[in-house]
C-alpha cells in the first residue's frame, strides 16, 4: 500500500539510473503503511461491535451461529492473506494452501477429539469397579473414536494427541514440513508458473485422496467431528465459546496482517515482488531466488495452518472434502476479486465473497419470477459468481482493490506499450505513483 508521504520520498522512482529505494532506513512500518493502522482499527471496532451484539456478552442481536460464521470468515481472511503473499506478491499461484489450512485443522481436531473422548472413557471406566489401567483407557479411546469407522486401534499418528502443546506444535510442524519438502522439490527443479499450480493441485488431490481412505487413521470420509465441544468445558455454552474463538480469530488476523505488512514492506518485500515481475533478472542479480520462494511458501503454509487451527473448532467438523482442489481455487478467487498484491484486498475479497456466497445459498432470498419460470438464487448463484469472476479477470484485474486506487487517484503507469510484467492484477506500487 502506498501513501502520499512515500510518493514524496521517491519522486522519480522507476526511471533509469535512480538508485533503488532503500527501505531499511525508512520510518516506522505504520508511517509507511497507514492502511495497517486503519485495518487494525477497523478490525478492533468490528470485534467490539460483534461482541456487544452477541448472545453471550451483549444484546443478543447476532445469533451464535452467525458469530461462528463471522469467526470462520476471519480465519478465511487470514488464509487469504497468506495466499495474497504467495500469489499477489511473489507471483506463485499455489493451489495447495487450503491443504495446509485443513492439515492444521486436522491436527487440532485430533487433540479435541482425543481429549474429549478421554474424559468420557475415564468417567465410564471409573464406574466399573476397578481403577482403569492405561491400556484400558487407550483401548477405550480408540474404540470410541474409531468404532464408527469400523476399527478399534489407535493409529500411530495419534500418539501425541493426548497433549495440547505437542499437538499444537504438530499443527505447525506437519504443514510446515510438507510445505518445506514439497517446495524444496518443486523450486529446486525450477517448476514455475502454471506447472507449479498444477503440481500443487496434484499435491492437494493426493492428500485429499489419502485422507479419504479409512486406513489413513483420520477416520476417512467421516473426518473428525464434534470439534466445537472443548474438552473440560462441558458446562460452557456455545454462545460463549463462539465469542472466544471469534476473539482469537480476530487477534490472529490482526497479528497476521501486521506480520505480513512488515514482511512485504522491507527489502524482502521488494525482492519477492521483483521475483514476481522477472524471476530471471533477480537470479542474475545474485539473489537466491529459490530460498526466497521456499521461505515464502513455508511461511504462508504456516499462516494457513494457524488459520485452520482456529477455523475448524468453529466449524465443528473437518473431513477430506475440505481440502479438495476446488477449495484452494476458491481461495485464489477470493484474493483475485479482492485485489492482489495488497493485503487489505485479500481480506476484503475473502470476507466479501464468502459472506455473499452464504447469503445467496442460504435459500432465504426470494426467487425471481420470469413469467412461469422461477429462478432460485441457490441454483444461479454459482453461475453469477463464475461469470463475475471472469469479468473481474478481464476488465478489473485489480479487483475490489482497484476502487481504492480510484479514490486515491492512482493509475496504472503507461509504459508506452512495454509489458508490465506477467501479472497485471498485482499492484505495481512504484510504477503506480507516476
Amino acid at each position: 500500500m502506498t501513501s502520499p508521504s512515500s510518493v514524496r520520498k521517491y519522486p522519480t522512482g522507476g526511471a533509469g539510473g535512480v538508485k533503488p529505494p532503500a527501505f531499511t532506513d525508512s520510518p516506522s512500518l505504520f508511517a509507511r503503511n497507514p492502511s495497517v493502522l486503519i485495518f487494525i482499527a477497523c478490525l478492533a471496532a468490528f470485534t467490539l461491535a460483534v461482541t456487544l451484539m452477541s448472545e453471550a456478552f451483549g444484546a443478543g442481536v447476532i445469533s451464535t451461529s452467525f458469530v461462528k460464521t463471522l469467526g470462520k470468515t476471519l480465519c478465511l481472511c487470514l488464509v487469504a492473506l497468506a495466499m495474497d503473499l504467495i500469489w499477489g506478491y511473489a507471483g506463485i499461484l499455489s493451489l495447495g494452501h487450503m491443504a495446509f489450512f485443513a492439515l492444521g485443522g486436522y491436527m487440532i481436531g485430533m487433540w479435541l477429539m482425543y481429549a474429549r473422548t478421554e474424559e468420557i472413557v475415564v468417567t465410564a471406566l471409573s464406574q466399573g469397579g476397578l481403577p482403569a489401567t492405561p491400556e484400558e483407557i487407550s483401548q477405550g479411546i480408540a474404540t470410541q473414536i474409531f468404532g464408527v469407522v469400523g476399527s478399534s486401534d489407535l493409529p500411530l499418528i495419534w500418539s501425541l494427541a493426548h497433549s495440547l502443546p505437542l499437538q499444537l506444535s504438530l499443527a505447525l510442524a506437519v504443514p510446515g514440513t510438507l510445505a518445506l519438502v514439497f517446495g524444496w522439490l518443486a523450486f529446486r527443479s525450477r517448476v514455475t508458473g502454471v506447472y507449479l499450480s498444477i503440481l500443487t493441485q496434484a499435491m492437494t488431490l493426493a492428500l485429499a485422496l489419502y485422507l479419504f481412505q479409512n486406513d489413513s487413521g483420520l477416520r476417512g470420509n467421516n473426518g473428525l467431528s464434534g470439534l466445537q465441544n472443548l474438552p473440560g468445558l462441558d458446562g460452557t455454552s456455545q454462545d460463549i465459546v463462539s465469542i472466544w474463538f471469534f476473539w482469537a480469530s480476530a487477534l490472529a488476523l490482526g497479528l497476521g496482517y501486521l506480520t505480513l505488512s512488515w514482511v512485504v514492506s522491507g527489502k524482502f518485500g521488494s525482492v519477492i515482488r521483483a521475483i514476481r515481475d522477472d524471476e530471471a533478472r533477480v537470479r542474475f542479480l545474485g539473489y537466491p531466488v529459490e530460498v526466497y520462494k521456499l521461505f515464502l511458501f513455508t511461511l504462508t503454509a504456516l499462516i494457513a495452518a494457524i488459520a485452520g487451527v482456529l477455523y475448524y473448532p468453529q466449524a465443528g467438523i473437518i473431513n477430506p472434502a475440505e481440502l479438495a482442489p476446488i477449495a484452494s481455487i476458491y481461495l485464489a478467487v477470493w484474493v483475485a476479486i479482492g485485489g492482489r498484491g495488497r493485503l487489505y484486498g485479500a481480506v476484503i475479497g475473502a470476507a466479501f465473497v464468502s459472506l455473499l456466497s452464504s447469503l445467496f445459498t442460504s435459500g432465504r432470498l426470494p426467487d425471481i419470477a420470469f413469467g412461469p419460470v422461477a429462478l432460485s438464487w441457490v441454483n444461479w448463484w454459482l453461475v453469477i459468481l463464475g461469470l463475475a469472476f471472469v469479468a473481474v479477470t478481464l476488465f478489473a484485474p485489480k479487483g475490489i482493490g482497484g476502487l481504492f486506487d480510484r479514490f486515491q487517484n492512482l493509475r496504472t503507469p503507461d509504459r508506452k506499450g512495454a509489458p508490465l510484467g506477467p501479472d497485471d492484477g498485482s499492484l505495481q506500487e512504484q510504477e503506480a505513483q507516476q
Binding site: 470462520k72 464406574q127 469407522v149 470420509n221 467431528s225 475440505e322 479438495a324 481461495l331 442460504s362
Partner: protein, 430 residues
C-alpha cells in the same frame, strides 16, 4: 470425488442474522417443522426428494386440520451437501427459527455433524436413511434401517436361499460401507465362512473404472464355491459398476449382486434390461402391493405433478417418522422435546408394505425386511419379506458393540454397557 466439490464456498458462512432479524412469532401461532435436506451440491439428487416428501406430508396434515389446533409450518434450509454447514443450519433452525422438530440428513457424516448441536440445544431430529448403526442419541429417532434390518437379512438370504459360500463385499470408501462390511465380516465368520472366502474392496466416490474389480470378482468363482456380491457402492458409481457387470455377462444366476444403496431412484439413471435378477434389500419397494402404498404413490405423483416419479425407502421412513411424531405430539399434548420423545417410544404406525412399525426404546423402528429382484422396467419384484425386525442400535456381531445397549425408556442411556452395568456416555459418539 463427487462429495468434495464446492464445499468451501458454502462452508464459509451462513448469513443467518444478516438477512433476517430474529423472528419471534407470538408463541402458538404455528408449529414449526425444520427440513434439513441438501437442495444443492452432490446430495441434492437424493435429498431434494425427501424435502418434497416432507412438504407433501405437512400439507396433508394441515389439510386434516393441523396439529394441536395449530397449523404446521415447514422451515426449509439448504445445507448444500456440506457437512459443517449441516451443523450451522441445525443451530440456526433451533435457535433462530425455533423449530419444534427437524427432519433431515442423508449421509452419516451429516448426521454426525448435526449431533453435537442438537444434543447441546436439546433438539429433535428424525433421520430417514439406512445407516451403519452403532449410535443411539437421545435427540434422534432413526427411521431408516439399522444393519440388522437390511444387511444381515440380505446375507441370510444369500446363505439360506441362494447357498452362497463365498462373498465379495464391494463398497464406496466411507463409513457406512466400512462399518457395515465389518459387521458382515464378523457375522459371516460366525456363520462358518472362512475369512479367506470374504473379498473386500473399497472404491472412491464416483468411481468409474470397474473392469478390473468385476474381473476379480468373477475370478473368485475359480475354487468352485458359489460367489455372491454384497454392494454398498454409493450413488452414481453404481452406474459404471452395473454397466461393467452387464458387459462382462455376469448374470444374477451365476453371480448375484445385492445392493443396499440402490433403489428405484438410482435405477432410473440406467438401462436395467441386463440387470434383471440382481437384488436389493430395503424396507420398502415402490412395487409393494398394499392399499396404503397405492394411496401414498398417488398422493406423491399428484403433489410432485409428475407421473414418472418413483418413491423409495427413505420416503417411507419420513412418512412413518412424521406420522409417529404427529401422534406423539397429540399424545403428549405439547411439542416439548422431552415430552414428545417420551411419547414417541412405543408409537405404532402402519408400514406402507403392510404390518405395523413400532418405535423402540432405542429410538429405532421395527420394520419388515424386503428383498427385491431388479426388473427390466427399473422396479423390483419383492421375492422375500420378513416379519418385522426390531432395529438394533449396537450390533451383536462386533465384540465391542455386543455388550452395548441403548434404552431411553428404562436405562435412559444410549450407550449402556451391560457387562459393567454402566452408562458409557449420555451424549453420542461423534
Amino acid at each position: 470425488m463427487n462429495l468434495t466439490r464446492r464445499t468451501l464456498l458454502t462452508s464459509a458462512a451462513a448469513a443467518a442474522a444478516l438477512s433476517l432479524p430474529r423472528i419471534s412469532f407470538a408463541q402458538g401461532e404455528t408449529i414449526k417443522v425444520g427440513v434439513l435436506h441438501s437442495l444443492s451440491g452432490t446430495m441434492a439428487i437424493s435429498e431434494t426428494t425427501l424435502k418434497d416428501t416432507m412438504l407433501m406430508l405437512i400439507e396433508a396434515q394441515n389439510a386434516k386440520g393441523g396439529l394441536l389446533g395449530k397449523q404446521l409450518e415447514a422451515v426449509v434450509v439448504d445445507p448444500a451437501s456440506d457437512w459443517p454447514l449441516f451443523a450451522e443450519k441445525a443451530r440456526e433452525l433451533l435457535t433462530v427459527s425455533n423449530v419444534d422438530v427437524m427432519f433431515g440428513c442423508w449421509t452419516s457424516v451429516s448426521r454426525k455433524s448435526v449431533l453435537p448441536v442438537i444434543e447441546e440445544l436439546n433438539g429433535l431430529l428424525f433421520y430417514p436413511v439406512q445407516y451403519e448403526g452403532e449410535e443411539s442419541s437421545k435427540n434422534v429417532f432413526y427411521t431408516g434401517a439399522a444393519p440388522n434390518q437390511q444387511a444381515i437379512p440380505a446375507v441370510d438370504y444369500y446363505l439360506e436361499e441362494l447357498g452362497v459360500t463365498k462373498f465379495a463385499l464391494l463398497g464406496t470408501d466411507y463409513v457406512y460401507p466400512r462399518t457395515t462390511n465389518n459387521i458382515l465380516e464378523a457375522y459371516l465368520i460366525s456363520k462358518g465362512i472362512p475369512k479367506e472366502d470374504i473379498f473386500v474392496n473399497y472404491t472412491p466416490f464416483g468411481h468409474s473404472d470397474w473392469s478390473k474389480i468385476v474381473g476379480d470378482v468373477v475370478a473368485l468363482g475359480a475354487d468352485g464355491k458359489k460367489v455372491g456380491v454384497i454392494s454398498t457402492i454409493n450413488g452414481d458409481a453404481n452406474i459404471g459398476f452395473y454397466k461393467e457387470l452387464a458387459a462382462a455377462g455376469v448374470t444374477a444366476d451365476t453371480l448375484p449382486v445385492v445392493a443396499f444403496s440402490v433403489g428405484e431412484e438410482e435405477l432410473s439413471g440406467l438401462d436395467t434390461t441386463n440387470l434383471a435378477g440382481h437384488l436389493a434389500a430395503w424396507n420398502y419397494f415402490m412395487s409393494a402391493d398394499t392399499p396404503e402404498n397405492a394411496a401414498f404413490i398417488a398422493a406423491w405423483k399428484a403433489f410432485i405433478k409428475d407421473d414418472a416419479r418413483v418413491t423409495n425407502d427413505p420416503m417411507e421412513a419420513h412418512y412413518i417418522g412424521f406420522n409417529m411424531w404427529v401422534n406423539a405430539v397429540t399424545a403428549a399434548g405439547t411439542t416439548d422435546v422431552d415430552a414428545v420423545s417420551a411419547a414417541m417410544i412405543g408409537q405404532e404406525f402402519p408400514n406402507l408394505t403392510g404390518g405395523m412399525a413400532k418405535m423402540l426404546p432405542n429410538h429405532h423402528l421395527t420394520k419388515p425386511v424386503l428383498i427385491g429382484e431388479i426388473r427390466a422396467d427399473g422396479q423390483f419384484d419383492i421375492i422375500s419379506q420378513t416379519d418385522p425386525v426390531p432395529g438394533d442400535a449396537w450390533t451383536d456381531y462386533l465384540p465391542e458393540s455386543a455388550v452395548l445397549e441403548a434404552d431411553w425408556a428404562e436405562l435412559k442411556c444410549g450407550m449402556y454397557n451391560t457387562e459393567t452395568q454402566t452408562c458409557v456416555q449420555l451424549k453420542s459418539n461423534y
